[in-house]
Structures are given as C-alpha cells and as structure tokens.
C-alpha cells in the first residue's frame, strides 16, 4: 500500500508543471544564435537577442526610418565626407564602464580591425573615426556614403563595453557586455540564452520585464505547440500555414509585418559557361519568364496570403518602391510573344532552390505557371550551404534565394547588381546602373536618392538580373498576457514597453 502511495505522489509531483517565475518572458526563436559578439556574428536570431542585450547608435522606427538611440542627433558635412554624431550623456555599460565618445571610437575601430570582424564591409566607407568632444564623434569617410547611418542601426552600430572587449578580445561572445536594457546571464547552446534586467539602464522606466529567456526551437509546429502549452510566451516566425490555427486559438494573438527583404530568383547572366543560355543571354526571355508568374497567386497558394507580392527589391509599402512599375499581372500571351521575338519556342531551364518545404512548393507552382508560356523547368533542390556555393561559383542558370533586407535601399541593391558588387552572383554589369547606384550613395537628400533609385529600377526591370517574386512577412504569435509588443519591419523583438500581465 505504502509503495502505491509513494508512486502516486511521485507521479503527481512529476505531472505538476512548474509555474514560470513572475515577469519572465520566454521567447521561442527559429534557430540558435551564433557567437554573441556584434562584431563577429551573422545570424538573424542573434540580432533578436541583441535587441535586448546591446543598444545601437541609432535605431529604426515602424517605417524603417532612422531614429536616435545612443546618439541624440547627427549630421553630414556639406561635402558628405564627415558624419558628426552627438551622444547621450547618461549611458553606462553593464560592467559600469561609462559610455562616451572614446567608447564609440573603440567600438568602431574594433569592428574595422578585429581579424574576426564581419563588419568590415559595412564600415568600408569609413576612413577614420575620432572623438571630437567628450560626447561627440566624427566619422571621416573615404567617399560620401548615405547608407552608413543605416549600417549603424544594426550590428555595426552596437556598442559593447570597451573594458570587456579589451579584456576578452575575440572571446567576447562568451560573456557579452553591452549597454542594452538587459544584461547577459547565461547561455547553453541549442537550449537557451538568458538575460536579466539591467537596473542602471538609461531608459529603465520603459522596461517592465525582469528576465528574458530565448529558446531556439527550429521546428515551427513544435515552436507553436510550446506556445500553446504555455512553455513560451511568444514565438517568432511561425509558418504561414499556422496563422489560421493561432487566430482561432483563445488566448493567442498575432503580429505581422512586411520585412525589409525580398524573395527572388537570380539569373546567371555572366558567371561562367552556364550563363550561355537563352535565359542568360536574352533579357526578353527573362522578361517572358517574369511575366508568366502570377505573384499574387504565389502569395495565396504558398503563403496563405500572408506574404506580399512584389517585383522590386523593396516591398510596395516601402517609400523606396517605384510606383511607376507596379507588380505586373500575369500575361501568358505577352510572355509567349516575347519568347517568339527572342526566336525561342520552348526554353529549357534549371532552377536551383533550397530544399525546405515552403520554397520547394513555391518553385513547383512557378514551374507550372511558366510552363504555359513555354518554359520547361527542371527543379534542383539542394541544401542551403550547397546552394550558396553553387550560386557563387556560377554553377546555376536560375537560383532562388532570399535576402533578409536592409533598412537603407543601398543594402538591397548595390552589392547585388553593380559590376564589382561583393555578392553579384549573376555577374550582371551595366555601367549606367553602376553610375546611378554610386551616385545614390553619394547624395544624402532622400528625394534626390529616390529619383536615382527609380531610374536604376527602370533599367533593372528591363534587364532582370534578379527576378523579384515577393516579400516575406514576419509573423509573431503571442500569448495574450504579453502586451505592448510591436513588430517592426526588421523582424526584431524590442522589449521596451512590453509588459506581462499576470
């Protein structure tokens, strides 16, 4: 009898799930972050953790406009060769080190010189940076660069404690010390990253959460199940197909926002022998291919209407979108006519794409759509690392991949389509596009820049080195007790003003 009683008690203890500590926010991430050093890291989810851990010189608002964060204001010199920033005077790092102009200089210098740094290309226009006052820094540029300020709204502008950076060097990521609203507590790889409220945060009034735990759960179904079972309070990037489930669940809500990036197909135009096909050699064939795709249908079929159809590197909701080139309606007859004009009857083409279910389905739909216009598409699904190396090496005709997007238009275009662009895998080269995009970098007036991007857009829409299909939406699912969270176009989870009801 006693034995039965013992067993029963033990079972009861096991079955009573422990309640979560008060004011602890538990967030499910789609992946595990890489190294937690803003100068070295590269993952999307890493940036989500930084949104709690490390403040930046400037931030983004809901319209992807640059707003003050650690810098209170900034201006470019008339010749565009200097960027002068003034800093907040009430900021300390998590280790007590004061934040000032010298700290900024140390950070930018570290990102530019640390051998392991991944920020070098983002800061490539910076010749030097110096403290021109206790709370003023001046960036001197090698050439005018209007996109620099936007770079500083991400990892290149994240400030880490110079004391800690000096002490730990490239190992900083094992115990990161920044100036954000939360400080680092612990990390267990592939299991959790824990942060705790930083009491001396300059904007402490806006932080209501005591503790944040980030948990990587790669499977979207499982991630959602953890939210439903109360193991998590919010999850990022749920699958489009789960949106219905969440909206019908009591106690759960959704937040959606169109991202800054795009989904596209890169055409091999000049990258080795595989460019020597009608698809690579004749823009009319690419135009026909593009016209044969019903972008809105893709959105409805593959993404349950949660993404956005698009035809440019910026979503139609963006201020940089060229309204004179709206998303084209599908026109099979026009596509056939273009093919005939190019002297082609049927065009055989291979498309490589990542081997995940959503992309695979998307490309199967595209395959069916363009078949009607005269394209015999072979799909080649590969694992992502392989896809990237094939794309870089030029071993592709068409390659489908995503770009996560940058707040400044330059980040979505320049490196992809300029002749010497760092990731110009199509090896597309048009001096006129180069001229326009270089000039757009050099002018700081937004209206003048928009004009230049519009002009470049017209040419790119003809040449189609990249066939844009649409724009991803970041979809968050939240427990109703999480209040005050706002999804921004960069997909980050900002914890300012977020509260947890009991």
């Amino acid at each position: 009898m006693t034995r039965h009683l013992l067993t029963a008690t033990a079972l009861a203890a096991l079955l009573t799930a422990l309640p979560a500590a008060a004011q602890e926010l538990r967030i499910g991430l789609g992946d595990d972050a890489d190294i937690l050093d803003p100068a070295q890291s590269r993952t999307f989810v890493g940036r989500i953790v930084y949104a709690g851990l490390c403040d930046k010189l400037v931030d983004l608002d809901a319209d992807a406009q640059i707003i003050p964060m650690l810098a209170t204001d900034w201006s470019y010199s008339d010749d565009g060769l200097q960027l002068i920033m003034n800093l907040r005077d009430d900021v300390v790092f998590h280790d007590g080190t004061a934040f000032d102009a010298d700290a900024v200089v140390a950070n930018i210098t570290r990102s530019m010189t640390l051998p392991e740094s991944r920020r070098k290309s983002e800061l490539s226009s910076v010749a030097s940076v110096e403290a021109t006052g206790p709370l003023q820094v001046t960036f001197t540029l090698t050439a005018p660069d209007a996109s620099l300020i936007a770079q500083l709204s991400d990892r290149a502008g994240m400030m880490i404690s110079p004391t800690a950076a000096e002490a730990t060097g490239a190992d900083f990521g094992q115990n990161p010390v920044c100036s954000g609203p939360f400080k680092f507590v612990e990390r267990i790889q592939q299991d959790r990253i824990v942060l705790e409220k930083f009491e001396d945060y300059y904007d402490a009034d806006r932080i209501q959460i005591q503790r944040v735990t980030y948990r990587p759960i790669p499977d979207t179904t499982v991630r959602l199940a953890n939210l439903q079972s109360g193991e998590l309070d919010m999850v990022e990037r749920i699958a489009a197909t789960d949106v219905g489930t969440v909206s019908q669940s009591d106690g759960l809500s959704l937040q959606e926002v169109v991202g800054l990036g795009y989904m596209g197909i890169y055409a091999n135009i000049g990258n080795g022998d595989r460019a020597l096909t009608p698809m690579g050699e004749d823009a009319r064939v690419r135009q026909a291919f593009s016209l044969a795709i019903d972008r809105e249908a893709l959105n409805q079929v593959v993404f349950d209407g949660t993404s956005r159809a698009g035809n440019q590197p910026f979503p139609p909701t963006s201020q940089w979108y060229n309204q004179d080139l709206p998303v084209p309606a599908r026109d099979v007859e026009a596509a056939k006519a273009l093919l005939a004009e190019a002297g082609q009857d049927r065009v055989a083409v291979e498309i490589q794409h990542a081997n995940n279910p959503v992309v695979t389905q998307m490309m199967q739909v595209v395959q069916a759509m363009v078949a009607e216009a005269g394209f015999d598409v072979t799909l080649r699904a590969t694992e992502f690392a392989t896809l990237l190396s094939e794309q870089t090496a030029g071993n592709f005709q068409l390659s489908r991949s995503d770009w996560s997007g940058r707040p400044d238009p330059d980040g979505n275009l320049h490196q992809f389509v300029t002749c010497e662009g760092g990731i110009n895998d199509p090896k597309y080269c048009n001096p006129e596009v180069d001229r326009l995009l270089n000039e757009a970098r050099a002018v700081t007036d937004p209206a003048a820049r928009k004009e230049l991007y519009d002009q470049a857009g017209v040419i790119l829409n003809q040449d189609l080195p990249v066939i844009y299909l649409g724009h991803q939406t970041y979809i968050f699912a939240l427990d109703d007790k999480v209040q005050g969270f706002k999804a921004l176009p960069d997909g980050m989870i900002r914890l300012q003003d977020v509260t947890l009801a009991d």
Partner: protein
Amino acid sequence: MLIYIAKRILIALPTLLIVSMLVFGLQMLLPGDPVLAMAGEERDPETLARIREQLHLDDPVPIQYLRWLGGVVTGDFGTSLRTGEPVAQLILQKLPVTIQLAIMSMIFAMLIGIPAGIIAAVKKGTAVDWLANFVALSGLSIPNFWLGIMLILLVSVNLSWLPASGYESIFVDPVRSLQTMIMPAFVLGTGLAATLMRHTRSSMLGVLSADYIRTARAKGLTGRQVVLKHSFRNALLPVITLTALLFGELLAGAVLTEQIFTIPGFGKLIVDAVFNRDYAVVQGVVLCTAVGFLLMNLVADVLSVMLNPRMRAAL
C-alpha cells in the same frame, strides 16, 4: 580478465584513428563551402578570403587533418567555427544530456521489451503473442518525430501534464529534469523496446525447447520457476549484448527526437554542425561517439564473459 580488457582497448585505438580519418575525408567531400556557410549574408569576396585564411582552409586536407590530430593528442579539440566555443566544452555540456536520455530510454525499452518478449515466447502462437508482435512492429514502424509531435499535442497542449520541451540538468532540478525527459525517452524507448522484444522472444523460444527445460519440468518445478530461473537466465545473454550495443547507438544522439523536444544533446549538435560545415565540432562529436560505442561493445563482451561460466573458463 584485465589483460583481456587492456588488449581490447589497444585494438580500439586504430579503429578510432580510421574513424576520424574517414569522417574528416567525408566532410571534405561534402558540397558547399564552409566559408560561405559561415559568412552568411556578408559573403563578399574579401570577407570570404579573410575567413579562409583564418581557418587555414587553403592548406591541403592531410595537413588540416594532422593539425587537428595534433590538437586532439594534446587535449585540444579546437573551437567551434560558429560560436567560437571550445569543442571540448561543447561536448562536456551535451554529454550528460545525451547520457541521461540514453539511460532513461533504455529503462523504458527494457521495462517494455523484455517482459513482452518473455510473455510472447511463453504464450507462443496465442493471441497474446500475436498482440505483442503487433505492438512491437508498430513500435518499429511509427516514426519518432510523428509520435513525438502527437505526444506533445496530447500530453502538453491538450492535457497540460508535462512541459512540451526544454531541458534542465538533473543535478539542478531533478523533478523538472525528469518531466522534460520522460516523453522523449518514451519515444526513443518504444522503438528500442520493439527490437528488444523480438530478440528476447526468439532467444527464449530457443531455450524453452532445450532438453534441460524438459528435465526441469519433469522434476516438477512450477511454470514460473522454469520460465524465470531456468530459461530466462540462459536466454538473457544475447539480450544483454544487444542492450549494450543499442545503448552505444543511443550515445550518438537522437537527431529527430532531440529536435522535436529541443533537447540540447549530441544529435542536435552534430546536425547543426554538419549544416554549418563546422568541421571541428563534427570531428569532436564523432570521435566522442565512436569512443562511447566501442566502450559499450567492450562492456557487452565483458558482461557476456562474466555471465557465462563456459566463456570465463576459455579466457
């Protein structure tokens, strides 16, 4: 006995060396460039060249292998390309998780598989035997990931009995640790239970038809004594060997189950490492797993020698 064990360990060393060479070579055959995988979206040519140089990836493969081997011999397993953490530290972090999961799964497997095998053998040809076989076949056929998701939906989402995922060290919070591990251990255990059941059953059947069992029955022993004392002990030998080997396999981690229940064990570590072309981590984990497997092999052999007087005499 000790000499026997020492000999076996010495023989294992060349095996390990060959395993590590094979894995190193196979990784080099993988398409996809580790540098690109590491660079992510910042993959302009200068960045790529810089990373390549830092990691010595331009060196010939044998040189890279020797550099790695030299490190291992001096106790340095290298650092993860992805997170900058020492590989040894990663392995030490994951090893207890994997061992705990392996032990708990094995307990489930033995509790279900062995009794079921005995009953099936004793009741051979009856409905009970048929049912046990059916359940065993289902255990083998139902994919772990499906059973895992179904359990999460039922037990965690609908009934809210157990947490859906996560891991806590058994030394920090034993209750929570068991709570989070029960479902994955059960999922893994059911598959193994099926194998164990089939082996126990056939081994028992062999013994039950032996002459000495007939003698035992003729002496007038009860059915229970015959089955448990005379038959089971003798039928146990192959089952023990199998259990040790299955345990060795569990030490390699359980990729899908770990992924579903987000348990930070070896399986998840190595899969992520392969996708990221994180060579040092793959090498370290494979080496560690191979050591575990060889050890379990040795344990199986030693156990069967110890349990079998005839083999003990032969040593």
